[in-house]
């Protein structure tokens, strides 16, 4: 067990090292793609806090993602860059507030009703930006400058540089992972999991289920907003589609594809889905069909998510079926059962 943990730590360190060094060997196009993957991965990991750990399938996370993007667009002055110190807290705060309101109402429902209610709230926000003139209506609006990271007049980072932007996004993604890992392992995280596994028992032990779920929903919405803020900055453009159910559903596919019971699974899901898309789009006209088939294949092959592959490779003893395949049956030591 200890050896497995050590190896997986080493693999993680190696992956992070490669990710940090990426700008030194990858072309700008791929850096931008990598930034996009990280941001969608962050959205999917945020979503997974409620879906995988909380057992609540939300279909409105694109609304938090897009809302934060819109806040950046609306608070950016037309001819100069907006200060990140003002626009980022505003965007994340707006996403968290939206999550608080939507969560407070939709968490009164359960199961399929929860899915439908979150979908409805997400679509409400979509149509708000689609049908009103708030920010260009259905055409969306441009963000001409990336946010300014400066103290007074001293610039700290130049987000216009693809490389710097990528590193900032990478840093945020890693911070997001660290935050989620801490939460999942915390007493709160255990209580959240307990309410997923057996709501009735968790409640009769004394856990305030509604408040626990609402807190998870708000944290998750805020992280989705963080991702949306940088996604909008990267594209230089926001449109209502950013808030639509299609983005929510894509994030959900990333969650399922990568693995719901791990923090980083959804990030892997994002990388696979977007890498696949990139590759297939260049190779065939019928890429959507092919993509769909491959995803179905992967989900069937890895019902617990593709991230499971890593665990299988690193900790084979944790997978009895695998162990049986590798070694002939060995009688268990007495007293070990």
């Amino acid at each position: 067990m200890a050896r497995g943990a050590l190896t997986s730590r080493l693999v993680a360190v190696a992956l992070v090292a490669v990710a940090v060094a990426l700008p030194f060997f990858a072309a700008t196009y791929y850096l931008q793609l990598a930034s996009k993957v990280l941001l969608m991965g962050l959205l999917a990991m945020a979503l997974n806090l409620v879906v995988g750990f909380g057992g609540l399938v939300s279909l409105c996370h694109a609304a938090f993602f897009g809302l934060a993007g819109y806040v950046l667009a609306l608070t950016s002055p037309p001819y100069e860059a907006a200060s990140i110190w003002i626009t980022l807290p505003a965007a994340v705060g707006a996403a968290a507030l939206a999550a608080l309101v939507i969560g407070a109402l939709s968490l009164r429902t359960r199961g399929i009703y929860f899915i439908m209610v979150t979908l409805a709230f997400g679509e409400m926000l979509f149509f708000f930006f689609h049908d009103t003139r708030v920010a260009g209506g259905s055409d969306g609006t441009f963000i001409y400058f990336k946010p300014l990271v400066a103290i007074g007049s001293l610039p700290l980072l130049d987000l216009e540089k693809a490389r710097t932007f990528y590193w900032v996004v990478l840093g945020l993604t890693l911070a997001g992972i660290a935050l989620l890992v801490v939460i999942v392992r915390s007493p709160f995280g255990h209580a959240l999991a307990a309410s997923r596994v057996n709501e009735r028992r968790a409640r009769s032990l004394g856990f305030p289920i509604y408040r626990i779920r609402l807190a998870a929903f708000v944290i998750s919405g805020a992280l989705a907003g963080l991702s949306g803020y940088f996604a909008a900055a990267q594209f230089g453009y926001v449109a209502p589609q950013m808030l639509g159910w299609h983005v929510s559903a894509t994030a959900l596919v990333m969650v399922v594809l990568g693995g719901m019971r791990t923090v980083t699974g959804p990030l892997l899901g994002a990388a696979i889905l977007m890498g696949l898309e990139e590759f297939l789009r260049a190779s065939t006209e019928h890429w959507k069909l092919l993509e769909g088939l491959i995803i179905i294949g992967l989900v069937l092959a890895f019902p617990d998510g593709v991230r499971q592959l890593f665990d299988m490779a690193l900790k084979p003893h944790a997978f009895p079926a695998l162990r049986r395949m590798r070694r002939p049956a060995v009688p268990r030591e007495a007293g070990n059962a």
């Binding site: 007493p187 409640r203 856990f207």
Partner: protein, 251 residues
């Protein structure tokens, strides 16, 4: 007179036209086991659900040491000291036995919802959880997934979870259901030990167990209390003999 821990007055629960519980009043005392018996559908589980807060009463009041709790939700009543088990075992099946009990201990702890730290490394939580497992005799199974336990062990685990919340009042809904003879024997002794410093209300069909455990009995039929008192009084009560115990009578 021993201290009243939980008092129900004129409780009623309607499900549409059905009055599953009507005009039920009872006291549960610290240091006593109060058994509620009655035929299937008498309203016993509904009564427990009213007391634990899972159902809201249509009429009547519930007092927890003179404090009205009828309007409190389930988790508030749990934190106020009411612990319960279910007729159908209700535990966290995929989690290990220790995790199950640790969650129970965590629920009533200050900081039980902190966003940092780890329950697994919390010495106090682990000690409390282990103590509860010791008390029900499940220490040897701490690392086993709860779903892999035998039925009897699962019922023991549920009691351990209730104990780990350190309740003042324990409500048990048919704790012996589906148990083998030797398992049941151990469970009866466990239940007997629970009344030390606590009030216990037990719903049970096993009459031998009931008459060996109960300090006080309430007999229900069709949602109503048809008799109550100490075991001797109830045993002799004509309505009970007719409606419930049959001609043979209890042992």
């Amino acid at each position: 007179m021993p201290e009243v821990a939980l008092r129900a007055e004129g409780l009623e629960k309607r499900f549409g036209g059905l009055r599953a519980v009507r005009e039920v009043s009872l006291d549960v005392h610290i240091g006593e086991i109060h058994a509620v018996i009655g035929p299937n559908g008498a309203g016993k589980s509904t009564l427990i659900n009213l007391l634990s807060g899972e159902l809201g009463a249509t009429a009547g009041s519930i007092l927890l040491r003179e404090r009205p709790v009828g309007r409190l939700g389930v988790h508030h009543r749990a934190l106020a000291g009411i612990g319960r088990s279910y007729q159908k075992t209700t535990i966290f099946l995929p989690f290990t036995v220790l995790e199950n009990v640790r969650l129970a201990a965590q629920a009533r702890t200050r900081g039980g919802l902190r966003l940092f730290g780890s329950p697994e490394r919390d010495a106090d939580l682990n000690a409390n959880a282990r103590a509860a497992l010791d008390q029900v005799g499940l220490s040897g199974r701490a690392e086993v997934a709860a779903g892999l336990l035998s039925h009897g062990e699962q019922r023991q685990l549920e009691i351990a979870m209730v104990l780990a919340t350190e309740p003042k009042i324990i409500l048990l809904d048919e704790p012996l259901a589906g148990m083998g003879t030797s398992e049941a024997k151990a469970m009866i002794e466990l239940i007997r030990s629970l009344k030390e410093g606590r009030a216990v209300l037990i719903v049970e069909h096993d009459m031998d167990a009931v008459f060996s455990l109960a300090d006080r009995l309430t007999v229900m039929a069709d949602g109503r209390v048809i008799a109550s008192g100490n075991p001797e009084e109830v045993r002799r009560h004509p309505a009970v003999r007719a409606a419930y115990l049959g001609e043979e009578g209890p042992p």
